[in-house]
């Protein structure tokens, strides 16, 4: 082999690297920066972004610009708080530009400002004053902002504001930002009002053109005198794609078995085939083609349906069908992979190498890895250039296919195929009936047209109205059939319940006849005293009589965990009733509770929270239920500075300034640790149930598990299976860890049945052996609700729950028992009462006149103050159900144990 170091394959090219090719984009970027524009180069990977930036960086530096290059991944993304992220960014900029100032001190002095605020002050007070030249800040791999656990919208908005400032402050004209990355502008920032991308200059990187690439011939000059012709042939294969062009050139330069006497056309074709295309998957080093494949078959980020759609779309492009460019998610993904480019408004495959590597066989092979029932027929149909009628579906198989596509997002090829099949069937039907040929064509065309419409409609209906039977429109969010619900009384909250008074009240409420509505709701409350929804609607109707209300949203999983939702709403209703009664003044604004469904699904929670955050009337949020949903919702709330007080989400991984929990997994974990330690239970096996494919609902489980691991340090308690989460039966525990004294089964509420099954097995084994070798089974708070407790009792198993001591005879609990006509009040009700009261107390502690017109920020500030001062709720505004010395996790927290034996439960005891 001959070694050639003229060409460089992969990685960025150093400044003035001999094989660096200057393209049109070079002068575009250079000019745009010289004009002072905000520039961005957002492109697919390995197109030469960083190399371009490096060249321009040095060029500008030589001209006297103060240049700074920030590679965003250097800052990190996991465990990065908003403040540390901005601080690090600031520190890096100051360090690179050699600004002589202790940034740590400076940052601390700005204590009260928001992080992004500090960053913009840094720009104004430090950056622009200590450097008097023009400043260019390059920010590379900007797509990493999507991995941050806070929204980067502020960051982009801030860049935009730097440009807006220029009108008023001329010094801002000296500051120029350039962003680089593999993303689309809209995926980086959602809010189009403050995006910098619509005021900036987009630099589009294209493949090398023939005249630009002539420079590459130099590297081949000592091998052949037809180097220029060779380069021209290379471009025919690579389309000027920088990575492939450099690679192919290097291969030619280093190959020892090329006969340069041959025609350049043949030379290049042979080596391209033998060294790149044939057996490509093993020759793709450094990786390029595999990266493209991985971006399309990306099972980690894309759904199977989406991938199938992508593949079919690509197949259409491959077949030379005319596809107009648009910004559909499939097209965006396909273009970002680099495989397909937009040429004069139409999709085209970037180059011949891609076309041969990712050919029809590849598409069919990839499709066959998914289970598509009619794959053979549809591919044969597509292969016949969409002509072969014998491959269309029969009536029966068409129906089956349509049924199995229920709730799926179909590709356009699927739809075309169904339509063609249906059309063919209709024609056959006509033929069978012997309709005269003359009128046939027109009829068939109409039938074909109609069937297309009908099919679109039918397929839409199939997934769009998951709950059509109930006459309520549903919608599909990330594959979940979901019923959107936001109601203060104008819509029923629960689908299945029917109460004529409630229905009537809803009708009146819709017509804004609040007095009539209230009367009907009141009747509904009387007929079912346990129903918190009628009570809330009643309160709302009354509140609306007094003009404007104070709106708080209670987000609960109505259709999914109805019992939990109702228990939570009971506490909310109690607090609302109490507050509205106490505001006697006629002009006082009263509390309105908006009931919102989030289905207990993170995807939905994200959507719902965006809507709530965008509704300026909503002052605060109570909810969500599972920690996973709350986590998905928090970024939206944080950005809108709206407080979230969750009665039930307790994962310690929930972190946001706006978030206030009732109780925290750290407290539980510490209680378990204390208890085990005090009982000399040293050898514990933790069964955490979460599957290796983490679901979002495992947020709580993981947090509790981690907190427990931390809490047992130094307490003489060991987790035996620290590295082994595979065990899931008592038998496996006993055989692997014979010294086990206790099992802690962490259930997030979804794993309650599994826990009971575990308890059964445990009882069975315990009954066979002497007391000293029995294993005690502990489980978590999520199993302490009424339904689960009664299930445990039914199954007559033994287990223990450790938790904070509960006072089941507090004044609130006693009143609630009577009000709701129940023997027992669930912990969730008590917690949600407290949560609502905390928001109410925040409003109450505002001074007049803000108290009458509270703002989100005002409520947030009060709650933060209360947290700082560890203010407890006033006695008559607290459920008194549990008392915790918040913030202290020391060993003396009173711990109670709920012991259930043979279905007999003994209450929480200290």
């Amino acid at each position: 082999m001959i070694y050639n170091n003229f060409y460089k394959v992969g990685g960025d090219l150093k400044f003035q690297h001999p094989s660096y090719i200057s393209r049109q984009s070079d002068s575009e970027l250079y000019q745009a920066i010289k004009n002072g524009d905000f520039c961005y180069v957002l492109n697919c990977s390995q197109m030469g972004k960083s190399s371009l930036a490096v060249q321009i960086f040095h060029r500008l530096k030589a001209e006297g610009y103060a240049c700074c290059f920030i590679n965003l991944p250097d800052i990190g993304s996991s465990e990065v708080t908003e403040d540390s992220w901005y601080f690090t960014l600031t520190h890096k900029i100051a360090r690179e530009l050699r600004i002589d100032l202790d940034i740590s001190d400076w940052w601390k002095q700005k204590g009260l400002l928001s992080s992004s605020g500090k960053f913009s002050q840094f720009i104004e007070e430090i950056l622009l004053t200590s450097i008097d030249r023009d400043i260019v800040i390059f920010i590379d791999e900007v797509d990493i902002t999507r991995r941050l656990n806070f929204s980067a919208d502020n960051f982009f908005a801030l860049i935009r504001s730097c440009y807006n400032q220029r009108v008023y402050r001329s010094q801002y004209q000296r500051l120029i930002f350039t962003f680089l990355g593999t993303a689309t502008p809209s995926s980086l920032i959602k809010n189009s009002n403050c995006t910098p991308f619509n005021i900036g200059t987009a630099i589009v990187l294209q493949g090398f053109k023939l005249n630009e690439a002539q420079l590459l011939a130099k590297g081949l000059e000592d091998r052949t005198d037809r180097s220029k012709e060779i380069i021209a042939e290379v471009l025919k294969w690579t389309g000027g794609q920088p990575f492939l062009t450099q690679k192919l050139c290097k291969l030619i330069a280093e190959s020892t078995d090329i006969d340069f006497a041959l025609d350049p056309h043949i030379i290049v074709e042979r080596i391209t085939r033998s060294s790149i295309i044939d057996n490509w998957i093993n020759q793709d080093n450094p990786q390029h083609l595999k990266t493209i494949q991985a971006r399309i078959i990306d099972l980690k980020k894309l759904t199977e349906e989406f991938i199938i759609k992508l593949l079919w779309l690509y197949k259409e492009v491959l077949d030379g069908r005319e596809i107009r460019s648009n910004s559909s998610p499939e097209q965006v993904q396909l273009r970002l992979s680099g495989l397909v480019v937009d040429l004069d408004g139409k999709l085209k495959i970037f180059n011949r190498i891609y076309q041969e590597v990712f050919n029809s066989d590849w598409v069919i092979q990839k499709l066959s890895e998914f289970s598509i029932p009619y794959l053979d027929k549809i591919t044969a149909w597509v292969k016949s250039n969409y002509q072969d009628k014998s491959q269309l579906l029969t009536k029966e198989s068409l129906e089956n296919a349509l049924n199995s596509s229920d709730g799926k997002d179909l590709s356009s090829i699927d739809l075309q195929y169904f339509n063609a099949s249906e059309k063919e069937l209709t024609i056959k039907e006509f033929k069978r009936k012997g309709i005269l040929l003359g009128g046939f064509i027109a009829v068939a065309m109409i039938a074909g047209y109609l069937s297309r419409e009908i099919f679109h409609q039918e397929i839409y209906d199939k997934y769009a109205s998951c709950l059509k039977e109930q006459g309520i429109a549903g919608e599909k969010i990330a594959n979940i059939c979901f019923r959107s619900l936001t109601t203060s009384g104008e819509k029923p909250a629960i689908v299945s319940s029917y109460d004529p008074d409630l229905t009537h009240g809803i009708e009146e409420f819709k017509k804004e006849h609040y007095l009539a509505a209230s009367l009907s709701f009141k009747k509904a409350v009387d007929s079912d005293r346990a129903d918190p929804i009628a009570k809330i609607f009643d309160n709302n109707a009354k509140a609306r009589l007094n003009k404007k209300t104070l709106k708080i949203a209670a987000v609960v999983p109505i259709d999914y965990y109805q019992n939990a939702a109702l228990d939570i709403l009971r506490g909310v209703a109690d607090a609302q009733t109490q507050f509205n009664k106490e505001r006697k003044n006629k002009n006082d604004r009263l509390l309105e509770i908006v009931i919102v469904n989030d289905g207990n699904k993170p995807e939905v929670a994200k959507k719902v929270s965006t809507e709530l955050a965008n509704d300026p009337d909503i002052l605060a949020i109570i909810g969500h239920h599972f920690s996973g949903s709350t986590k998905a919702a928090l970024p939206q709330y944080s950005q809108a500075k709206i407080v979230v007080v969750s009665p039930t989400s307790s994962s310690s991984s929930l972190n946001a300034d706006v978030f206030f929990e009732n109780i925290n997994t750290k407290i539980f974990a510490s209680m378990y640790a204390n208890y085990f330690s005090s009982q000399n239970l040293a050898n514990i096996v933790v069964v955490d149930f979460f599957d290796p494919k983490k679901s979002d609902n495992d947020e709580y489980t993981i947090a509790l598990y981690n907190d427990f691991k931390t809490a047992i340090r130094g307490r003489g308690v060991n987790i035996l299976n620290l590295k082994d989460s595979s065990i899931n039966s008592i038998e496996s525990i006993r055989s692997k860890y014979p010294q086990t004294q206790a099992i802690l089964a962490i259930s997030n509420g979804e794993k309650n049945s599994a826990t009971i099954a575990l308890a059964k097995e445990n009882d069975k084994m315990n009954s066979k052996i002497s007391t000293d070798r029995q294993i005690q089974l502990f489980t978590t708070h999520a199993m302490g609700d009424r339904e689960t407790l009664s299930k445990i009792k039914e199954s007559s198993v033994a287990m223990k729950i450790v938790g904070p001591c509960q006072n089941k005879n507090s004044p609130y609990i006693n009143v609630a028992k009577t009000n709701w006509n129940q023997e027992d009040i669930d912990w969730r009700t008590a917690y949600s009462y407290d949560s609502t009261q905390r928001i109410i107390q925040a409003i109450e502690s505002l001074s007049n006149p803000t108290r009458q017109n509270p703002t989100r920020e005002g409520i947030l500030a009060q709650l933060q103050l209360a947290r700082l001062k560890s203010t407890e709720l006033p006695r008559d505004k607290s459920s008194g159900f549990i008392r915790l010395d918040r913030g202290s996790l020391d060993k003396n927290i009173p711990v109670c144990v709920l012991q259930i034996e043979k279905g007999e439960s003994v209450d929480f005891k200290q």
């Binding site: 992969g10 990685g11 960025d12 150093k14 490096v54 590679n71 991944p73 250097d74 800052i75 990190g76 993304s77 996991s78 465990e79 990065v80 403040d83 540390s84 992220w85 601080f87 690090t88 520190h91 890096k92 360090r95 740590s104 940052w107 990493i144 991995r147 998957i281 093993n282 450094p286 990786q287 595999k290 990266t291 494949q293 991985a294 971006r295 078959i297 990306d298 099972l299 980690k300 980020k301 890895e369 998914f370 290796p692 981690n706 691991k709 931390t710 340090r713 620290l722 590295k723 082994d724 595979s726």
Partner: protein
């Protein structure tokens, strides 16, 4: 090449085994060093009772053992012989290894197979490391001989460096399996803090001529600085560690790939390498990482963040030449066909090849006999096979994936994450986007066990 091998294998295997009591093992020279290090790490002296206590607990688990007893299930003299690399009974050898957390085959003279020089990877590794600002990744499944090759490479690199008297290059090795407490992997901040501390400690201890006492500088630079963990690390490197050339070797980095922050850590390494290549201070840093799986399998991204970074040396199974070199060391009667025969069954798995040759040497059994009963209960590979079976049986998804791979009629798409777990166990080999069972022995044995399970 042959001469080098001869000097490496400095004893004759058959002689060793004839001279000692049957079924006795002693530690190799390399193993002796490892034992010493492990012993010091725990704090056991050669006269301590504690190893005897721990060993007794394993040997006789039903009796209750406490410190300061008059006698233990194992004699102190045995311990002493073990430490001094004298032959002891196999059972005792394994127990001592267990309490010291060492892999017995690695440190005994039985692990001879791993001393075979691996070409062309080995010279390539040496060359790459000696280049400034380099990034080398050594990749290979478990028990393929990575650690031993790395040791040899580093030894060679050191001696090359020492030829230049004023060379100030420092080499620091961090092993993520031994150096850190498990809890460190819960948080990026703790992890990077421990990493910096470990490097600082090693530098202070091993390179005395450095004027700074690095461990003292650490607290301030870390805790009084509120930047993100990765940035703190980079700044610490810039301020304190990169004044002279540094070769940083990170072993068993798979442990980090499993951590929640793996992506950040890979980004950090990638960023360092880019900076190193751009010049200035960072060109003093050369990185070597050793791992058994590809990175991205555990991460929520489609393509590896280290995919195109640096040079990769993939440590593969033995080829016929390596097997024949090993045969010479064992001094066995051998014909040309034998190599093909052994490879047809076990491929070039160093561990299985070595076991085969060792059995032939020790017990004078013919290769044909070993191979003819290989997959039966009396086969010599049974222990290895059962251990693998036990490992995959604990994880049903691994077992299912294995079934999809080796039983043609069940072929199904397998999650890449699972494929890489099987790859790291050395069970399968990934070619392109397909997985293939490593050898015929595995195929036959596991097909049989999986079929039994189905009935």
């Amino acid at each position: 090449v042959n001469i080098a091998i001869r000097s490496n294998g400095n004893y004759n295997r058959n002689d060793v085994f004839r001279s000692i009591v049957a079924m006795s093992i002693k530690a190799s020279e390399y193993g002796k060093q490892k034992i010493k290090a492990a012993r010091k790490n725990i704090g056991w002296t050669i006269d301590s009772d504690l190893p005897l206590l721990e060993a007794s607990r394993i040997l006789e688990p039903n009796l209750s053992w406490v410190e300061g007893m008059d006698w233990y299930a194992i004699a102190k003299a045995t311990w002493r012989r073990f430490v001094e690399a004298k032959p002891v009974r196999e059972e005792n050898f394994k127990v001592f290894c267990e309490i010291l957390d060492l892999e017995w085959r690695d440190i005994s003279q039985v692990g001879e197979a791993f001393d075979i020089r691996r070409e062309p990877q080995e010279s390539r590794c040496e060359r790459t490391i000696l280049e400034p600002a380099s990034f080398l990744r050594i990749k290979g499944p478990h028990r393929m001989g990575k650690t031993r090759m790395l040791d040899r490479v580093l030894k060679q690199v050191k001696s090359n460096l020492e030829e230049h008297s004023h060379n100030q290059t420092r080499i620091i090795t961090v092993n993520f399996l031994n150096n850190f407490d498990l809890t460190v992997y819960d948080s990026l901040d703790n992890f990077l803090k421990s990493l910096c501390q470990t490097i600082a400690y090693e530098l202070t201890n091993n390179y005395q001529n450095s004027t700074k006492n690095l461990t003292d500088t650490f607290q301030d630079s870390w805790h009084k600085f509120d930047a993100t963990p990765t940035h703190k690390t980079s700044v610490y490197f810039e301020n304190w560690l990169l004044d002279l050339p540094l070769i940083l070797v990170l072993e068993n980095i798979d442990r980090v790939f499993e951590a929640p922050f793996s992506l950040d850590f890979c980004d950090l390494l990638r960023g360092w390498h880019t900076k190193a290549q751009r010049g200035n201070l960072w060109q003093n840093l050369s990185l070597v990482i050793v791992h058994s799986t590809d990175v991205y399998a555990t991460m929520d991204i489609a393509s590896s963040p280290l995919a195109n970074v640096g040079e990769v040396a993939v440590l593969e199974e033995f080829g016929s030449q390596e097997i024949e070199r090993l045969v010479k060391q064992y001094d066995l009667d051998w014909d040309g066909e034998s190599t093909a025969k052994i490879m047809a069954l076990v491929g070039g798995n160093p561990d299985l090849v070595d076991l085969t040759l060792q059995t032939m040497a020790n017990e004078s059994i013919t290769l044909d006999l070993i191979l003819s009963v290989a997959t039966t209960e009396s086969g010599i590979y049974r222990g290895r096979l059962l251990k693998l079976w036990e490992t995959i049986s604990k994880k049903p998804h691994l077992k299912l994936a294995l079934k999809y791979i080796i039983i043609p009629s069940t072929s199904r798409r397998v999650d890449p994450l699972i494929l890489y777990q099987l790859e790291s166990l050395g069970l399968v080999k990934i070619e392109g986007d397909r997985a293939i069972i490593r050898n015929e022995l595995y195929r036959q044995y596991f097909t049989y066990l999986l079929a039994i399970e189905d009935n």
